[in-house]
């Protein structure tokens, strides 16, 4: 081996991303959803530095966006294997696992992320969501609180309040839930999800006029690909109108909730 090659080998061993170029530009392209450009730049980086964890993370994200989940997972797992202390690699793998409903595995990733990045509000929030999905209410509560604490700042993510408010509603802690869902609605007034959830809360609180306002607002905010389907809003409306004694409207939405197909989200 020549001296130059030996030196290159040492440099790559010390920094496997040393040969990778344009990683920053690739990351920006992924964030912007510029799939073709992101794909090109990531492939280029990996051609030069096939074991670069940051490039593998970007590749995993690109593959996810391209609808190739198995390959995406392989890329993300390889990144974690090569760089166990790379918080971003674990964070992206955790998101992949969360979306695949592999909550126990996702928790393991996010626990490591928050150990590496204790101020990462989103990581705390994902940890909470996954713990909640596993039925681990106490752990979820702790993680939600940390997410909210880390989320304080000039431009907080409104969905942290939404998730925590929804969690509190399940816990039947209605007034606490209300505080967070009110805040979520204030921060994101055009989001069907937050109005729907607050409508459910107000139904549980037996504040039927408020539940009606929220449910009707949710109905007006169409969100075909969103987490709350039309049939869910119809069922809420049917229930709220029935409580209010609005028989015709209750009948109308009961019928719609019977006849509207439920989206297949498998």
């Amino acid at each position: 081996m020549s001296g130059a090659l030996a030196l290159a080998a040492v440099l790559v061993a010390a920094n496997p991303c040393a040969g990778a170029r344009d990683l920053k530009a690739a990351a920006e392209a992924v964030d912007k959803g510029e799939l073709a450009r992101a794909d090109y730049l990531t492939s280029l980086a990996l051609a030069l530095a096939p074991d670069c964890p940051d490039a593998l993370v970007l590749q995993g994200r690109v593959l996810s966006l391209k609808g190739r989940p198995r390959e995406a997972r392989e890329a993300l797992e390889k990144a974690v294997r090569l760089a166990p202390a790379n918080a971003e690699a674990r964070y992206q793998l955790g998101i992949w696992l969360y979306r695949a409903l592999l909550h126990a595995e996702a928790v393991r990733q996010f626990e490591k992320v928050v150990a590496l990045r204790p101020r990462d509000a989103r990581a705390h929030d994902y940890l909470a969501l996954n713990l909640e999905a596993l039925g681990e209410a106490e752990g979820a509560e702790r993680a939600y609180r940390k997410a909210l604490a880390a989320n304080a700042g000039p431009s907080p993510d409104p969905f942290f309040d939404y998730y925590y408010g929804r969690f509190l509603l399940k816990q039947t802690r209605l007034e606490e839930s209300r505080a967070h869902l009110d805040r979520a609605v204030a921060l994101h007034p055009d989001e069907r999800t937050v109005h729907y959830e607050r409508g459910k809360l107000n139904l549980a609180r037996k504040d039927y006029p408020a539940a009606r306002r929220d449910a009707e607002r949710a109905l007006s905010l169409k969100d075909p690909a969103g987490p709350v389907a039309d049939v869910q809003v119809y069922y809420l409306l049917a229930t709220v109108y029935a409580r209010l004694g609005e028989a015709d409207l209750a009948r109308k939405y009961a019928e719609l909730s019977r006849t509207t197909p439920i989206p297949d989200r498998r």
């Binding site: 039947t172 389907a229 229930t239 029935a242 909730s257």
Partner: protein, 551 residues
Amino acid sequence: MGSRLVLGLALAAWAAAERPAAIQLEDRQRASGIRFVLDNGTTPDKAVIEAVLGGVALFDFDNDGRLDVFFTNGARIPGLRKDDPRFWNRLYRNQGDGTFRDVTESAGVRGEGYSMGAAAADFDNDGWTDLYVTGVNRNILYRNQGDGTFADVTERAGVAGTDATGKKLWSVGAAWLDYDNDGDLDLFVANYLDWSPENNKVCGAEGKRLSCSPTDYAGLPNLLYRNDGGGRFTDVSAAAGIAAHVGRGMSVAVADADGDGFVDVFVANDQLRNFLFHNAGGRAFMETGVESGVAYTEDGVPVSGMGADFRDVDQDGRPDVFLTALSGEPFPLYRNTAEGFFVPATHPSGLGFATLMMSGWGTGAYDLDNDGHKELFSANSHVSENIDAYGHHRYRQANAIFRGLGGGRFRDVTAQAGAAMQRARAHRGCAFGDLDGDGRMDVVVSVIGEPAEVLYNTTAGAGHWLGLRLEGTKSNRDAIGATVKLTGESGRIQYNHVTTAVGYASASDKQVHFGLGPDRSATEIEIRWPSGARQVLRNVPADQVLKVREP
């Protein structure tokens, strides 16, 4: 004032004496002589029928005062024939000494086809409990001939489980009920999917196939057979407003939801809104699941509804609905309110997070420690045998007990309930009854590929109890649909009703069971018979099975 003080002191004593006995269930299958193994005829392709069988029935077929056990079983796939004794349904006679004898052949109940569920009741009011067996390609009505044998009277009775064109529908759950209060029992049959070996779909990767989603198949309407007497039934599904509702019915449970004296019908559907068929005066049914609030979860989505019990779990005199579901979906509990509708109580009851990772089949609300609060039992396992290969969930799961805390709240006490309750297995149906007559409710659970579990209740320090065996005269002889309000000597009031349709495709003992805690007697027992008759018994000592005949 004085009587109120006495009542207050009695209730205080009740509360003070109410030390929770640790519920213990002990599996005595080996000593029992019950060797039944639920055989689903598993195939590499994991046909959808393989996952959903396993009904159990507890009933006294020979009137010796002891509960016998009946298990349904599968068949070879794709032939759907019981061409080997390992596929036979089995009847075990309780010999009264803790052992059971297999009397399947002498009783003539080994069955035909790929069986699913069982419903037991005395449809002809002759004093002998009959048996209806549901299945994929064959439903069978067995008339108990009173001599230890049963006769297949399906064709003559007209309850073969076919639609108007004669096509056999895949039936899972069934319930006996007297919907028109005419004094004989009618039959409701819950049908599941339009499946056949010819339209079988294959899901999941080769070598680790999964049971396909129920949404991959068309659903089916349910059936209602009216008992015309003389051993004959008429299919009134269309006329009564049942057939118009196509579902994916897995289980059916019955109770009078609104106290109008007519039994209503709840059907748990798989990945489809549940049905509540409101009985309109014994003439027809209105499907009111949405209006009543039991169709969807509080999130407005359906669950994989499996087993169900329709019973008052919060002691307010109104029957609530509890059902089991698949991992990732909490087991829904709907509380029946005074306002005439149900409200979701899954999370407020404490069941939400506790059941989230469970997949449940058989279930029932019974007071296992006789403290006056009903527990919820669930027989657990995931649907798909190969699900472990996908990392999400576990196929074999332990059963669960949720202890009733009062006020409609529950706590998971499975970990303290003994070794038998920690075993992860492929549990399916279960049935409840007091096998040894000790006043504690026992449970029998079917298990795919392993011996059934014969779970004797050995709870130490359980409270006093009272069993009621009602016999109708004007009402149907089994008194199915009768409601009972019991006031203990402490003043505590409890409610229950007579039904055998409990859980998943299974039939439990018709005896009405009350745990009385420290109460040594019931000061008043009020029975409302399906005929409309009201009967009141006073100062009934505890710790006995009381036989009550309709006046």
